[in-house]
């Protein structure tokens, strides 16, 4: 089992991505136990607020948004919100992700956000969903 931190951008993306695409595959892997996702309430707060945006509200019912959030909370390896996060990244709002990943001993932070992806020397490193699939050994679907 590979332990990864999937950030809020990845979880939001997975809710609307075509099956077989990287973010969707990563959550399939969480469901079947190939990947263990680490999270905290702050991270799910970001997902919840993201779901309240007009794009997601128009495309997922309130019941479905709630079901997705609840299911992810129940399957995630939950950690406490990092009490303090050293300033590491150019967007300070991302620093808690690094602290959480270290606390949970995650192998990588999976994100689509270039504030993290472009940061050289980050530990654990930030990788794209596609790279995470490659490392876990997930086969991308047709057209992904």
């Amino acid at each position: 089992m590979t332990r990864l931190l999937l950030d809020a951008s990845v979880l939001l993306s997975a809710a609307v991505a075509r099956p077989g695409t990287p973010t969707a595959l990563l959550l399939d892997a969480v469901e079947d136990g190939t990947v263990e996702m680490v999270a905290c309430e702050r991270l799910f707060g970001e997902v919840s607020r993201g779901f309240e945006g007009s794009y997601f509200r128009d495309r997922l019912s309130a019941d479905d948004r709630e079901a997705v959030l609840t299911g992810l909370r129940r399957i995630a390896l939950m950690r406490a919100d990092p009490a303090s996060a050293p300033a590491v990244l150019r967007d300070p709002d991302d620093d808690y992700l690094v602290a959480l990943a270290i606390d949970a001993d995650a192998e990588a932070i999976v994100t689509g956000d270039h504030d993290l992806l472009d940061h050289t020397g980050l530990k654990p490193e930030a990788i794209t969903p596609r790279e995470a699939c490659r490392r876990v050994g997930l086969s991308l679907g047709e057209g992904a």
Binding site: I75, G112, T128
Partner: protein, 73 residues
């Protein structure tokens, strides 16, 4: 409090669940599994309905996070 009901389950399966999550009660174990199943069913349904490409979906996810952070600051 929600109304409850009783179900039968394979004893060996329940034992495996208890071994994996010893901190949880039997009720928590079963309810978690149900909530996870419902969540992933909703997720798959949404993926099939919306069917964004990899690039579109990732861009949307990143933008949504930045917008919500901006709205809070």
């Amino acid at each position: 409090m929600a109304a409850t009901t009783s179900v039968e389950i394979d004893s060996e399966l329940l034992a495996r669940l208890r071994e994996r999550w010893p901190e949880k009660s039997d009720r928590q174990l079963i309810e978690d599994l149900v909530l996870i199943q419902l969540g992933f069913a909703a997720l798959l349904s949404s993926q099939q309905r919306n069917a964004l490409s990899e690039e579109e979906a990732v861009e949307l996810g990143v933008r949504a996070v930045h917008e919500t952070r901006g709205a809070r600051s």
